[in-house]
Assembly symmetry: C2
Homo-oligomer: 304 residues x 2
């Protein structure tokens, strides 16, 4: 790649889309931000937001040559709009374009484009693996089919415990008391309205309350977070079995639940080590656009 060329990495999520231009050494040259880039939310508006982020990123770089645009978009799988979007972006920007899942570019960011597994637990959860060109995943089935170990899952399990206490006329535990107090709810029955009228992210936002109660010594909160870590570890090990890794394997951690909630992270690391003693854990939190950059460079090197 000559010095006047650059590549753009795009990270399109449920609330915003970021496009970042990098030179051949991975230095950031410019950046554009716009609204959501998740095709499931609204495919036409997402496509417009993605174009807008790229336009804003390219504006300061007029006259220079964009060699590649690599996009990682939430909800790209299972939409019938993928091929249309690719065609539309190719015509609009007249350069080489690749579309991938948002987990794919997060993986490349964390593991610097190398082989290994990235396990993410934020509102949802997924394990994404790349091994000598083969790509596979476990989890990522969403809240209805079970994203065990995710923030949403932890929150729902906390509310289910509250329901069990209510139905079995047991004394309310410290976590239930903390949740009712912090959410300003009197009756357990009112959590039903709360859950069905809130977004998944809003529900997952109670995880810090669980973490506080665990820190404060509540055994149920602690064991719930450890269960989350173990679920994420098992998901990671299932993926490790599917892909034919060499002796050592890099395992990246990402997402607020896995990185910031210590009992989850500690249980995760312990249970992964049990099954994969050769694991090297990577906890660096690199923006996903940088992962798109690594993947763009790989494509340019592969295909010239």
């Amino acid at each position: 790649m000559s010095s006047v060329k650059y590549v753009i990495g795009v990270d399109g999520g449920g609330t915003k889309t970021e496009a970042v231009a990098f030179d051949g050494d991975g230095e950031e040259w410019s950046r554009g931000v716009s609204g959501f880039g998740n095709l499931v939310v609204d495919p036409e508006q997402a496509a417009q937001n993605i174009e807008e982020a790229i336009d804003r990123c390219r504006e300061p770089l007029k006259g220079l040559d964009c060699a590649y645009i690599y996009l990682g978009l939430a909800g790209i799988e299972g939409t019938p709009h993928r091929a249309d979007l690719e065609q539309r972006l190719k015509e609009r920007f007249r350069t080489r374009i690749s579309l991938a899942n948002d987990a794919m570019i997060a993986h490349a960011a964390s593991l610097e484009g190398k082989d290994g597994i990235l396990t993410i637990s934020g509102t949802g959860s997924i394990s994404w693996g790349v091994c000598r060109g083969r790509v596979a995943f476990t989890g990522g089935w969403g809240h209805l089919l079970g994203d065990e170990g995710s923030g949403y899952w932890i929150a729902i399990e906390a509310f289910r415990q509250m329901i069990r206490e209510e139905e079995e006329s047991r004394t309310r535990g410290p976590l239930s008391r903390a949740l009712l107090r912090r959410l300003d709810i009197d009756r357990v029955h009112d959590i039903k309205t709360l859950i069905y009228e809130s977004s998944k992210a809003e529900i997952a936002a109670v995880v810090p309350i669980v973490a506080e109660e665990a820190d404060g010594g509540d055994p149920f909160s602690r064991s719930l977070l450890e269960r989350a870590g173990r679920e994420l570890a098992e998901q990671t090990v299932r993926l490790h079995r599917k892909l034919d890794f060499q002796r050592r394997v890099a395992i990246g951690l990402k997402g607020g639940v896995l990185l910031s909630v210590s009992p989850v992270r500690e249980a995760f690391v312990q249970w992964v080590k049990e099954s994969i003693p050769q694991a090297d854990f990577v906890e660096q939190d690199v923006p996903s656009t940088k992962g798109a950059y690594f993947l763009a460079i790989q494509e340019l090197q592969k295909h010239g």
Copy 2:
């Protein structure tokens, strides 16, 4: 109640609202049907539909005196519109009005207004109990907080088994093969799109496939249906513990899953008997509007 008086029972659900007028002996005099009566779907449209069903039911009874309108409405709990609706119906129909949950009138229909527990498993599940004026329930928390033993729950568990087989690179079991064939899906990944774009009722509609595979000898399908029956039994027993029943207790069964899927019903009866040997099972499928009639008559007798 004099012979020129009648009462109306209303059953408002997610797709239709039925209003039936009964004379003092419980004989049906007339009937009106309209669209959904679930306040959660759209409170104003639901209110209009409810009024329309009652209007249609009253049309052939002009000149006669309506002594009571008893309504059982899905989603009446947790909506802020209950008081408004009651006021609106009182002004419009100028008679005594009671609003209750749809499970309450289903209970009264099955147990002829007497004490006992009704356990319902259709798309969702709930156990509703009445004991000497006290009303309580277990379950009914909906698909996100867990309506174990419901048709939706059985379907999701079937799809989760398919996911486990896929993630663990196991051979597909008979149920997974049947589901993929009958839903015309090639890749397990496509069930994600299917689940997130379908209604709960559409998802629960795969239960007959599970029942067929269980009949055909598939151990997983059979044990899944038995687990559903056991979950419903445990929910029923939790409610029995909450309410202070006398020696014998009537336990009604309702809903397609509990009444029509034999392994579910058999496991349910067996597990309930284990904890409540004095249970009398009631399997008659009486329309819920008749339950509203029983409750209206009780109100008239109580308050004159």
